[in-house]
């Protein structure tokens, strides 16, 4: 089943409609507005056809395009620059809407004015200004403004226009850097890389991640991945660097980066190993750009849900959300820091963001100012100021809290910011931050126009020290992703510091590495190549020993064995090349392949169900069908049967054999179930009862009795009924058996006969067989 999902950037590029399709959807008014861009005021006199021709001609003329770009406002140029920075013609609506507001440049629109009755559309104001101007176009080709009721997943710009645009950075924020700051929480590139490598390896190990019927990540698959990773969830309330649902974050990040993609059937998510390897091999400042872009379009994960923001289930985050807009605005806010290398108070950044986007944007509900009816005009400014203060207070409760969690959480864990405390201030979350080199490269660095040399791949160099106690110290700054991946694979991580990680070579980890396909020689050679010093002899010896131990015991899954009637027949078949494989015992060959024309006499498959080759009698005699006898049946029967010496195909279930099985821990239920799955017919019910009786315990049937009791049989039903209710006969009787018979107390039988004779009944001693229909014993 296929589910709706957000198109990837590459898919968006393919969705861009031809300019003719878009233009043909516009009405005359819009076309004239657009034509004015190209031809000036003359467009007012044009009809629809003329306007359409003028616009088409304009887009086709490079000189006209350049002239158009020169006439654009700063806001329009900067807005188009944001699209160009994405490397294509398209941008996701929510992201670009947040970024356009964050530019800090004036735009034409309903800014600050009445937004209609739907205030939720205010944060599209800047975006709609570009749509109105015809510089951006809805990806669905529609002509209307974007709003809650007219959404569009993305917008695009004309390629010719974009080619003439130079990206402009946002206006600097009005922020005062901190005089001093101290990095108390730092995540170095090596450490970030290690987490990314560990995540990639775990995902690669568990294979494609299953999706649920709703297209969400299936919880069992995520739990399996979490178990493989061994990450423990830290309570976010107590952590200064909270990353709730870290696994979900990395999954969403990889998905947003296009490193995990949905398979064509829409059932699983698959890791794109080649792309991951290529990305992780780049210097971290280059990687950071990709991770920051991916962070901007994260789905199915959220840093923090502030008060007054309500999410109704996981599906709410499947599509684009306001969180994407605020993430984009925050990243662009970093690019607008007045001094990129300085420390800032987080609260100051939040206030600066409020000044830029607060009038238009809120994660929750943003009200609008309406002075009460008949308010004196002189009171309106005061009321407006009061309303503004309330809005700012709401921002601090909601958006500021979210920004604090975003910076201390994902942005810190991606190594884009360093965290600290402003002098004299302490809180759970750090309240000071500074961009790292990677952070600067991924934000403000994008707007630098100087030519960037092609990123050099990190050369591999020795980065580990292996100690005689099997500890492996990895120097993260000099480790490349392949080396980190290798160490993650062959050793257990014990400790992770700022610059180093400590691993331990263990037998279990080495075994897992060998099981994953690494050979013992490659393991030692690669470790040696990565080591700054020669490996200790004891470590090499032990690794060799662990590898040799694995060779001593093998488990062959899904194997095939060919059984011959004699060793001579087997050897003949091998000589004739009818079968290729490894001889086992005297008559068997573990088959690698069979010659094309060779057909075995019969084939017995042991899965999914065991072959049925037994018949069982009520007395416990078990007979094996000689033609269907399989390899396991004798071993199985040995567990609860006794062989009959005279016949190799006959066995017997006896009390002794069942008792022996019980001693070995078998229950009657297990024996019956094993027997039932091997017999060709339903088990005789009495045999089941007998096995239960022999095994004893709770499964055994209740007590049975064969007493010698005199029976009084009465042919006449009326007489029998009279006896049953008579007080005279009650002392002589034990009970009634059906309508015509009574159990008589053995010691009073003679008295009863005398009594009956005395009362005139003719009493005999023969059993009366025909006595009406049987009934329940009273």
């Amino acid at each position: 089943m296929k589910h709706w999902r957000i198109p990837t950037p590459a898919e968006l590029e393919r969705m861009v409609p031809p300019i003719e399709v878009y233009l043909s959807n516009l009405n005359a008014d819009k076309l004239k507005k657009l034509a004015r861009r190209w031809t000036g005021k003359d467009a007012n006199k044009m009809n629809k056809e003329q306007a359409l021709t003028a616009v088409k001609k304009g887009f086709e003329d490079p000189q006209a395009v350049r002239a158009l770009v020169e006439r654009l406002s700063d806001f329009e140029r900067a807005g188009l620059g944001l699209i160009k920075l994405r490397g294509g013609r398209t941008a996701y609506t929510e992201e670009i809407a947040g970024e356009l507001l964050m530019l800090g440049l004036p735009f034409k629109g309903k800014a600050g004015a009445f937004q209609g009755y739907d205030h939720e559309n205010a944060h599209y104001s800047a975006l709609n200004a570009l749509l109105e101007a015809g510089l951006l176009i809805r990806i669905d080709g529609g002509g209307q403004a974007i709003g809650r009721y007219y959404p569009s997943v993305a917008v695009f710009a004309d390629a010719q226009v974009l080619a003439a645009i130079t990206p402009l950075p946002p206006q600097s924020l009005d922020l005062q850097p901190l005089a001093q700051g101290r990095a108390e929480f730092v995540r170095r590139p090596g450490e970030v890389l290690l987490h990314l490598v560990a995540f990639t390896q775990a995902l690669s190990r568990v294979g494609p991640l299953a999706l649920s019927a709703k297209g969400l990540r299936a919880k069992p698959a995520v739990a399996k991945l979490a178990k493989t990773l061994g990450w423990k969830e830290t309570p976010t309330e107590q952590s200064p660097t909270p990353l709730p649902n870290a696994l979900g974050f990395y999954l969403s990040l990889f998905e947003a980066a296009g490193l995990v993609v949905m398979d064509p059937t829409g059932r699983t998510l698959m890791l794109q190993q080649a792309q991951v390897d290529e990305l992780l091999a780049q210097p971290y400042t280059e990687q950071a750009k990709r991770w920051a872009q991916a962070y901007r379009r994260l789905h199915q994960w959220v840093e923090y849900v502030p008060p007054q923001v309500y999410l109704y289930g996981d599906h709410e985050l499947v599509g684009p959300s306001k969180f994407n807009a605020l993430r984009a605005a925050l990243l662009l806010g970093f690019a607008a820091l007045p001094e990129p290398t300085a420390w800032y108070r987080l609260e100051d950044l939040s206030d600066a963001l409020y000044d830029r986007i607060g009038p238009y944007f809120s994660l929750g509900y943003r009200s609008h100012f309406y002075p009460p009816y008949q308010t004196p005009p002189e009171k309106v400014p005061m009321l407006r100021a009061q309303w503004e203060r309330e809005q700012h207070a709401h921002w601090r409760e909601r958006e500021h809290a979210w920004i604090a969690h975003a910076i201390a959480g994902p942005l810190f864990h991606l190594g884009l910011v360093e965290l600290g405390y402003a002098p004299g201030e302490r809180a759970i979350l750090p309240n000071g931050f500074r961009l790292t080199e990677a952070g600067r490269a991924a934000t403000g660095g994008l707007f630098r126009t100087e030519a960037h040399p092609a990123p050099a791949l990190m050369p591999a160099q020795p980065c580990v020290v292996v100690q005689p106690n099997f500890d492996v110290i990895v120097y993260l700054d000099s480790a490349d992703p392949k080396q980190l991946g290798f160490i993650e694979c062959i050793a257990e991580r014990r400790q992770l510091g700022d610059a180093t990680a400590v691993y331990r070579l263990t037998r279990e980890a080495t075994y897992q590495a060998l099981e994953s396909g690494v050979t013992a020689d490659a393991l030692i050679a690669t470790l040696q190549a990565s080591s700054r010093h020669p490996l200790p002899d004891s470590v090499v010896r032990t690794l060799t020993d662990w590898a040799a131990r694995r060779e001593r015991l093998s488990v062959h899954l899904n194997a095939s064995v060919l059984e011959f009637e004699s060793q001579a027949a087997r050897d003949a078949a091998l000589t004739a090349g009818q079968v290729r494989g490894i001889t086992v015992g005297e008559r068997f060959v573990q088959v690698e392949s069979l010659a094309g024309g060779f057909r075995p006499g019969s084939t017995i498959a042991y899965e999914p169900a065991l072959p049925k080759c037994l018949t069982a009698s009520e007395t416990g005699e078990i007979v094996i069908d000689p033609n269907a006898r399989d390899l396991l049946i004798n071993g199985e029967l040995t567990g609860y049967c006794e062989p009959l010496p005279a016949d190799a195909y006959r066995w017997r279930i006896t009390g002794e054999s069942i008792r022996k099985a019980s001693v070995r821990g078998w229950t009657a239920k297990e024996i019956l179930s094993r027997l039932a799955r091997r017999t060709r017919h339903p088990l005789p019910p009495i045999l089941a009862c007998v096995i239960a009786a022999w095994s004893g315990g709770r499964a055994a049937p209740g007590p049975l009795s064969v007493p010698t009791v005199p029976i009084l049989q009465v042919t006449d039903r009326e007489v029998a009924k009279a006896i049953s209710v008579s007080r005279v006969f009650k002392p002589y009787l034990l009970g009634q058996l059906g309508a015509h018979a009574f159990l008589v107390k053995p010691d009073r039988a003679t008295e009863l006969i005398a009594k009956l004779s005395e009362l005139g009944f003719a009493v005999g001693t023969e059993v009366l067989l025909a006595l009406g229909t049987p009934e329940q014993t009273a």
Binding site: L557, L562, V584
Partner: protein, 94 residues
């Protein structure tokens, strides 16, 4: 019993038939193979592993109860063994 080894047919073996009605192909089996017979004896004597070994094909090769391969590997790891797990695949005609 002859231990498991590479196929080395004896030179005096009679010519084999193309369709050998006396042969039985057993498929979808889980086999356990050890380097020395003592290891297999040790496994058979084990309280948890023993019941999972259903039949012995040679001194060093035995058949594991169907559907118990995962359980067997887990028990082997718990018992301190490091089994080499090999995915066989059903016998294919050339």
């Amino acid at each position: 019993m002859k231990p498991k080894g590479r196929a080395q047919p004896s030179p005096s073996a009679p010519a084999a038939r193309k369709n050998d009605t006396a042969t039985i192909l057993h498929t979808h089996l889980t086999l356990i193979e050890v380097a020395e017979p003592e290891i297999l004896q040790e496994l058979c004597a084990d309280r948890r592993l023993g019941p999972l070994i259903m039949a012995q094909l040679s001194d060093c090769v035995a058949v594991v109860a169907p559907g118990s391969a995962k359980e067997m590997v887990q028990y082997l790891l718990k018992a301190g063994h490091t089994p080499k797990v090999i995915e066989g695949g059903s016998a294919a005609a050339e």
